[in-house]
Amino acid sequence: MHRLTPNFPRCFLLGLAAMASFGAQALEFPNPPQPEAQALVKRFQADYTRIKADPNYFKPPPTPMAMPCEVPQRELYTPLGLHMAIPEEAEKIRLMTRKQLRDMGMDPDTAAKPMQYNNIRITPIKAACAAGKLDGEAEFLVQFDTLMENSNNINLGAKTVKMTMKMMTQQASRYFLSFKDGKIQDGDKYHVTQLSMRNETLYDDAQMAATMSKTKIPDAPEPQVSLTYMNFGAGQMATFTVSMAPKISAGLFGVNTSFQQQLDSHFTTGLGQSLNRMEMYKNGKLFMTSETPMKNGKYHGEQVQVQENYLKASGMRLDQMPGMEKARLVTVNGVEMLETRNCFIAGVLTKAQTCPKD
């Protein structure tokens, strides 16, 4: 007769909890060809099961520890994903986005409002200091809310309707990092984020509001959970996101929406190097690959993207779709996919037959 180990009851309960939280749907995992990516899939499977089984994972500990030394806000915000919450950095991004939006023919005054960060709380779970600076392995719980708001005027015959969209999130992340002399260290690091999203669209016209309310897609019933594994020194990053994806169908009195659990997996290599490669999977299926040459941190050269042939679903040929001058159909692992090529020169999308390589 086998003897049960002392850990058995805990493991059993964890397993049960994980099964319960997955519900009837089991996740379909990708099977990338690269051994490093395969290892990350296995690691994600284990981490995700553990996280889902712990109801307190995104909550501060009952007796939180104090920050072991005084850390300047900038030194803490940047590695903890709060770069955009630093006003000067947000302003730089706003100006850059403003130019891009104007190039795209949009009105930046309404479209480029920066994201607002509220209620930021940083709780150290594990942290130590040496000579007054963060040092060694560290773990933080980061909680905050965001609000992004933009307004547009829609022309409807003689009247103009103002539409205001509000996108609100509540986020909680656990960051696992390493510091030396107050500076973030290269090497393996990862973070886990739980994100609840709520969208609201307001119209200054009652008729429009009533019409649009019939086609409103409800917010996802569960928060999404993302696990990001990074090693910038090796130029690698992988993100796994489990979310409830809406499935929309036409109903008698508007749209019917049901939700299905979905896993999106992104594998990136060549970060900070001369060729950035990306592979994206939706559940177990390869969805898109991308290769982009880089120079001075900007896209530079011919970007080759291979993606699911979305034209097939609507029965369209390649020549029927605008902007497909350099596209062709290719077969990847026996599946017909769509290959598109874009030329970037110093980060600017440029129309070209032959894209410069240097």
Partner: protein, 332 residues
């Protein structure tokens, strides 16, 4: 005999007029797109609402068309009361002035101001007015100042929506950061006269790529047009048959049923024969409307066979013209 020939000739003239290719000249009598909101929009001073682009156009109208050289004023809700001038040529197309690209505009509207050239759009088989020289102001502080050109595009299917690439060479000026960039810019294919034209910098060799695509699309368009012509011919034939049936029902008992039925069968038989004929050679798609030619030939031959009965011939000629008119309206 001479009278019946003249009547047949009149019916065929009506037929050709009804089946002639679409003309893109401004014609505000088309109630699907335009609504007169003030004054006389037929022969006088009036303000018309362009419902497609949500613009107001005011000026003097003659036969619901523009008068060459006269000044028209155009505005859009997003231009906040500002009115722009437009001047049209004898062909009813814009010669110079400002074109507001209001379709789908959200807080701002882009406006092209300058002179317009003419372009024969091979995929729409129509002549268009396209920007030639001037300033394209995007409404957000970015302006393109220089020379414009245009390359027609097929879009999803030739003959359906007027699409094309706008090509620009000159200065892209950013009034917000006082920067200037000179060079070649090309837009993605966009609807003519419609929404925002978004330019991207282009290398000269891209023009060769567009040319290759244009030639490829011309070949594909031959098939698109043949399909549409066949659909149009059948739509017209069924409309004519419907009208002919009414004439026959009205004249039943007069002994002319056999001639009328022969007329109907000759029409259907002629169309069937054409439908199974070999394809016309590539490049002929852009010439005169083959559907019109076909209907002309088939109805001409069919009317010839009932020429002995002048009353019936006259009634059938009217029925043909009425059928063509109805099919044209249905096919819009």
């Amino acid at each position: 005999m001479r009278t019946s020939s003249r009547r047949r000739g009149a019916a065929l003239a009506a037929l050709l007029a009804a089946l002639s290719p679409a003309v893109h000249a401004l014609d505000i009598s088309n109630a699907d797109f335009y609504r007169c909101v003030q004054g006389d929009c037929r022969n006088g001073q009036g303000i018309v609402h362009d419902m497609y682009q949500n613009q107001m156009l005011e000026g003097n109208w003659q036969g619901s068309k523009t008068i060459p050289g006269q000044r028209y004023l155009v505005s859009h809700p997003l231009t906040k009361g500002k009115k722009y001038e437009q001047f049209y040529g004898a062909d009813g197309l814009m010669d110079r002035g400002s074109q507001i690209r209001g379709f789908g505009a959200m807080n701002i509207v882009p406006v092209f101001t300058g002179s317009f050239g003419r372009m024969d759009h091979a995929f729409m088989r129509a002549r268009l007015a396209v920007p030639y020289e001037g300033v394209y102001a995007m409404g957000n502080g970015i302006e393109y100042r220089g020379r414009f050109d245009y390359m027609p595009a097929k879009g999803t299917e030739a003959g359906r929506i007027t699409m094309g690439h706008t090509i620009f060479y000159g200065d892209k000026v950013d009034l917000e950061d006082n920067s200037k960039e000179t060079g070649l810019f090309v837009s993605n294919s966009a609807v003519v006269g419609g929404g925002v034209v978004m330019f991207m910098p282009a290398r000269p060799d891209y023009m060769a790529l567009l040319q290759q695509q244009y030639q490829r699309d011309l070949q594909i368009a031959v098939g698109d047009f043949k399909q549409q012509e066949s659909e149009k011919a059948w739509r017209t034939a069924f409309a004519i048959l419907g009208e002919v049936a009414l004439v026959m029902a009205g004249s039943s008992g007069s002994g002319s049923g056999g001639s009328g039925n022969r007329f109907a069968m000759d029409l259907v038989g002629g169309l069937m024969k054409n439908a199974t004929a070999p394809e016309s050679p590539a490049g002929s798609a852009g010439s005169a409307d083959p559907s019109a030619r076909l209907i002309q030939l088939v109805t001409g031959a069919a009317l010839g066979k009932v020429a002995g009965d002048s009353t019936l011939s006259n009634s059938l000629a009217k029925a043909v013209a009425s059928g063509i008119e109805k099919s044209g309206a249905a096919g819009k």
